[in-house]
């Protein structure tokens, strides 16, 4: 009898509508998230302590190397500032709409996909912080994926290395477009990305930078993905394809940033109410508004 009941229950669960199963999953995730956050913190501290002990002897050498790198980067920034001013002038002259700075939500990685069937991670920011599904996720090195399932305090991020994650990409130097797909992880742990449907007449060289094209509406234009490693002609000879090495290190993800869209509603609603009702007034529907100091855990680039 118990087996019949259980069989019926399983059939119901397997055929639940997405909204119901989504709510159940979100509730369970929210319950476990604080423990995952705590465990991730502890393991991060232990790793840092180990790294510090191992690195004490190399600290002075590393310090010198980093000082040199800082000096080089400062010079580069000054050079790029000149280009930025020139670029802004040219855009004004051509009457283009000004591009707004991207709004980012900083988040920490608290877990990986527990089943191993997806290349995915979980971060500790969710809808309450302004995160929405189908938003690009980046690190300081480059694009790593997109948000998929978002609950109140956590979000699942599908990584670029997953075959289900496809990105419309562009080669920076030649402007050639293509479709970037994850191919999982190789035997030695390297992430494999493949860019397909590149126009066969466009020149593509190893070392060329690959960025997002902005097509498709999910990934903003210009996010760095990686570099071309090898170029092939496909069997029919109609297109080229290329292996792409991602710039971000997928093996040591700890701090990531979710790129918000300009029209994301939480921020707009908050700003509208602040200006219309004045600070300190409770909105008519009694809903919570983010604090004035840190609206949604956002950082400015």
């Amino acid at each position: 009898m118990i087996w019949l009941i259980l069989g019926a229950l399983l059939l119901v669960v397997l055929n639940l509508p997405d909204s119901l199963s989504g709510r159940f999953k979100a509730a369970l995730r929210e319950g476990v998230a604080p423990l995952q956050d705590l465990t991730a913190d502890v393991s991060r501290n232990v790793r840092e302590a180990g790294r510090s002990l191992r690195g004490l002897s190399d600290a002075a050498l590393e310090n010198r190397r980093l000082n040199a790198e800082v000096a080089r980067l400062r010079t580069e920034v000054q050079r790029l500032n000149v280009f930025e001013r020139e670029h802004a002038d040219l855009r004004r002259q051509l009457h283009y709409a000004s591009t707004r700075e991207r709004r980012l939500v900083a988040a920490e990685v608290i877990a990986r996909d527990i089943s191993g069937w997806w290349q995915a991670i979980r971060v500790n920011k969710g809808a309450l912080n302004g995160v929405r599904p189908q938003r690009a996720v980046i690190t300081s090195d480059g694009l790593i994926g997109r948000t998929d399932d978002v609950s109140m305090h956590t979000s699942d991020v599908l990584l670029l290395s997953d075959p289900g994650c496809k990105v419309s990409a562009e080669i920076g130097r030649s402007g050639a477009f293509g479709l970037l797909t994850g191919r999982g992880v190789s035997w030695n742990g390297l992430v494999i990305l493949r860019m397909d449907f590149i126009n066969k007449n466009m020149e593509v060289r190893p070392g060329d930078e690959v960025v997002t094209s902005g097509l498709g509406g999910v990934y903003p234009k210009g996010l760095v993905i990686g570099y071309i490693e090898q170029v092939y002609r496909d069997r029919q000879g109609l297109f080229q394809r290329a292996d792409v090495v991602p710039r971000a290190d997928f093996g040591s993800l700890s701090q990531v940033f979710v790129v918000l869209n300009e029209q994301d509603p939480v921020e707009d609603l908050y700003l509208r109410r602040r200006f219309e009702e004045g600070p300190g007034e409770v909105p008519e529907d009694g809903s919570e508004t983010p604090s004035a100091d840190d609206p949604a855990g956002e950082v400015s680039p």
Partner: protein, 169 residues
Amino acid sequence: MTYAVMLLVMTAAAIFQALSPQIALFGQTPFPVLFGVVTYYALTRERNLLLLSAVVAGLVQDSLSMMPLGYSSFAFVAVGWVINRIRNLLFVRATITHVLCGAVGHLAVTLLLFLLLAAAGYTRLVPGWVAARCFGAICLGAVTVPLVFRLTAGLDRRVGNFGSRGGYA
């Protein structure tokens, strides 16, 4: 006390499984800690408790991953039921039993999940990757399930759910 131990063990198993490394050589198969808990209850407890543990472990695994809800529960119940049926033929407390149940059981769970996901369009048949996952399922199941069995049995004994020499209900 039995249910309290089950809840505690499931929570710890979920956290450890999420934190465990996913080795590329094994097709990124995770360490089957939750399945180890189900195997423990399948070998040592009556059917009702096995069913409860399999369903709960499956729901926990699905909720903490991108898997559709119910898939892991189905796989855990199916494999757990088979183990529970044949346990009278096995030396339940012997490590070799745990190793074999872990290896073969986790392989069966992996293949069942792959069939369900492929049928629903969530994954594709890539022979090399599937072979790596099967190899990983066998190796990791053989290593993880005996450890989880010992830890859970030890916890049960400490809280008084079993007699000092074991035996099962």
